[in-house]
Amino acid sequence: MASANLLQSLDYSVLQQCMHCGMCLPTCPTYVETKMERNSPRGRISLMRAVADGDLQVTKALSDEMYYCLGCLACQTACPAGVNYAELFETARAEVEQAQVDDGMQRGFWRWLSLNVIFMRPWLLRLIGRVLHVYQSTGLDRLMRKLRFFGLMPPSLKKLEPQTPKIAEQFSDDLIWPEEKPKQDRGYRVGLLTGCIQDLAFSNINRDTADVLLANGCEVITPRSQSCCGSLHAHNGELELARELARRQIDSFDLDSLDAIITNAGGCGSHLKTYGHLLHDDPFYAEKAKQWDKKVKDIHEWLVQIRFRKPTASAGVSEVTYHESCHLCHGQKVVSQPRQILASIPGLTFKELPESNWCCGSAGIYNITQPEQSQKLLDRKVANLRQAAAPVVATSNPGCHLQLANGLRSCGSSHPCQTVTQPVTLLAQAYRAEQGPQGMGVS
């Protein structure tokens, strides 16, 4: 393992860009919770800088702090000086992983199994998905719960078990052809990223994404058995693995032949747009990665850019509110486009959600690593959803989608909001409804 001090070898001006004005503090969910500087972006940057300056050792406490951070990037939106917190945060996590200050046997095993094994192998991930689906659809999961099988698990894992995402019956490759042509071609040719969790739990949303692209005259190219984009690895201090996955991702598309590469998951998109930086000193991929960054578009961003066609039929929903994925609004600065899409659907009233851009606590695997803080944020989100009082909430990231669904499920029928969906799904439903009843539901 390399022993270079990663924070020391980082371009120092990135650290220096923070002028410690404190404008990030009121937007940071962890600072607002504790009111302690170390739990704030400016505090964390000062710790990173102290490590880079050789004034502070890399300790377990430092590691804990870096993992207490949600990585929601709300600070990047608030920052007047344009600090690249995402880069700092990823480097700091890589630094603490490299220093091995937090290497309990169990933590090490689970990290290795998920980051190095499962999420590096698309076939294995999907195989696990198939098995999980069988387990869930045969009712075996309920039986196990009844038999109190999970009583054997540590309490923290036991609590998480019911939150396991419901695995789809069919994955994206079963639902989307490698190449699909629109009825009315507008000359656009785009690649579609199907993601990993999105593919397992929300393959229907990938289908919806392909449908809205087709309805707007885009030819859709969807490579088979796609890999994880590597955001999970980059956010968890495994930059080498992230680079490997980025190279694979770039290789799976013929970049020159495509106008855009479309992503529909906020968290992935934010990472996918920074391959240029991730691979900047890779002699073979640096140039390709730069070009890649330019072509990656969030689906909402792309639809608004090509002036998407407003649907003429309703989506069958009367009121909707919108929760912003952190990495879509703070990471990618895609803020108005999803709202424009929702507002374009006939018969659909859009209601603003209070604190719509405040993290829901999903934050990648934060709900697993920091269940307590995650739950506090979920409670806050659920309370805001109650205030918005719309029957449906739309969001555009699988993590947020699952987190909101779990939060609302635990409230039962007393909560005014009962359904979680995504803007593309509502748009796809509206387009399908234009075809009359026979067009509904089936593509």
Binding site: Q16, Q17, M19, S40, S46, Q57, G82
Partner: protein, 461 residues
């Protein structure tokens, strides 16, 4: 680096609770600075009291053991007022954050020192009231910090600064005495106005734990205008003409050429980059009066040489016009790694000449300085864009600042309009005040804090 003795830490934990006493490196490094560039010092410990009594007990303990005390709110100060001293105890008041009362009958508001400034105005807005001081950091600055620093903001000309809204406060004195200065009375001449000595005292005389503020009825209407000029002289003439016409606008903000260019580079809002001054004007009050005053202000701007004048039809358009001013600091801050924000202030009549002087100094020392600020009250923000690691350039900045300060004092200005002296302006204070006034200030510090316990070495040695 000095540590605080373990025995003292133990006592602090007994006074407060263990989780409200911070001593580890990871906890202390983030308290080494405030919002001021290039100042850094790790404290000995940080504590979070919840009540004035706890503050008093901490102060007494520190006094008995001769440990200096630095009070801190959210740490957004721009002169080093809350930067710790080696081995000091930082008393951080952010957890004393209760908004105690909004008194609609007396038009007052009572809040603990750790309440965020914006939350105070938000609470006012709910009942049609208004707390005017709006320092740039109001989304996170604490009201206690605002009072201790006598913070300004964009509305100085019409509404004054924090001092004009402080009716009274509870304060812990250097010997631990807990007392209350002032009250809710508009008129009060019972003895010396002691509260006025503490306002803006930068934590050197006492620790303010709760404040009573004066609040106003909220203005019903507001109109935003933007004017572009080919010379700063013309912009200044416009302001004089507006004031001569008996109009007191609530906002009169300007950006100089360098700042406009940086804003356009960064935000791409379609500003012409060859203007010498961009002026943002706002008037507020009764809707009819606002309309009339706005029309007059626009006419005066044109008559005094404005190249282009625009008025916003509504709030949303107003926000668009204000975008240039709102983005000014962000735009400047992105140009180089280190941003040094100054706040020399001159009589309004000297403003145009001072901006020209700063420009000349920047050219002479080959520095990047963008100047923006408050046209109505003569408060300038020359902003140095640099890299603190470039020692040679930092030296040139020192020389430039020296010349700017010298000129400011020569024309009857002040070295700090709203940021405070702290550490950053300490060396200039005597020059501005003169021997008599400087010694008077020091004698007050000595009388109230003979031991030099509270924030020693700030303002003066």
């Amino acid at each position: 680096m000095n540590k605080i003795e373990a025995r003292l830490i133990q006592s602090l934990k007994e006074i407060l609770s263990p989780d409200r006493v911070l001593t580890s490196d990871e906890d202390l490094v983030p308290y080494s600075f405030d919002g001021t560039a290039a100042l850094k010092q790790r404290p000995g410990a940080v504590v979070f009291p919840l009540t004035a009594e706890e503050v008093s007990e901490c102060v007494q303990l520190a006094r008995r053991n001769d440990v200096p005390v630095v009070t801190r709110g959210s740490g957004t100060g721009l002169s080093g007022g809350s930067v710790p001293l080696d081995g000091c105890l930082v008393i951080c008041l952010v957890k004393m954050d209760k908004l105690v009362e909004v008194d609609e009958k007396n038009l007052t508001l009572r809040a603990q020192s750790g309440v965020i400034t914006k939350e105070i105005d938000d609470a006012c807005a709910k009942v049609g009231l208004f707390y005017p001081p709006d320092p740039g950091s109001m989304k996170i600055s604490t009201i206690g910090g605002n009072v201790a620093e006598n913070s300004g903001g964009l509305r100085g000309l019409k509404y004054g600064v924090t001092r004009d809204y402080v009716m009274g406060f509870e304060v812990v004195l250097p010997d631990g005495t807990l007392t209350f200065l002032g009250n809710k009375c508009v008129k009060d001449v019972a003895g010396y106005s002691m509260k006025d000595i503490f306002i803006g005292s930068e934590g050197t005389l006492g620790i303010i734990t709760e404040v009573i503020l004066k609040v106003l009825p909220r203005p019903k209407a507001r109109k935003t205008m933007l004017a572009l000029y080919d010379s700063m002289e013309d912009a200044a003439k416009t302001i004089s003409a507006i004031i001569a016409a008996k109009i007191i606008p609530c906002t009169l903000e300007f950006l100089d050429r360098v700042t406009v260019q940086c804003v356009e580079d960064y935000a791409k809002i379609g500003l012409p980059t060859d203007v010498e001054a961009l002026v943002l004007m706002e008037t507020d009050g009764h809707p009819v009066v606002v309309e009339e005053e706005a029309a007059q202000m626009m006419a005066l701007a044109k008559a005094n040489g404005a190249r282009d004048v625009r008025a916003a039809a509504d709030e949303a358009e107003g926000a668009k016009l204000a975008a240039a001013r709102r983005n000014a600091f962000s735009a400047l801050a992105r140009v180089r790694p280190t941003t040094i924000l100054e706040d020399v202030t001159v009589p309004r009549s000297e403003l145009a000449a001072m901006v020209a002087f700063i420009d000349a100094v920047a050219k002479k020392h080959k520095l990047q300085i963008g100047t923006f600020g408050h046209l109505g009250d003569g408060n300038l923000h020359p902003t140095f864009l640099t890299n603190e690691r470039d020692h040679e350039e930092m030296h040139r900045i020192e020389l430039a600042l020296e010349e700017i300060v010298e000129e400011t004092i020569r024309v009857g200005g002040t070295v700090t309009g709203e940021h405070g002296v702290g550490i950053a302006k300490k060396n200039f204070l005597k020059r501005q005040l003169g021997e008599g006034s400087y010694e008077l200030m020091r004698s007050i510090k000595k009388a109230l804090d003979p031991q030099g316990l509270l924030n020693p070495g700030k303002i003066f040695d």
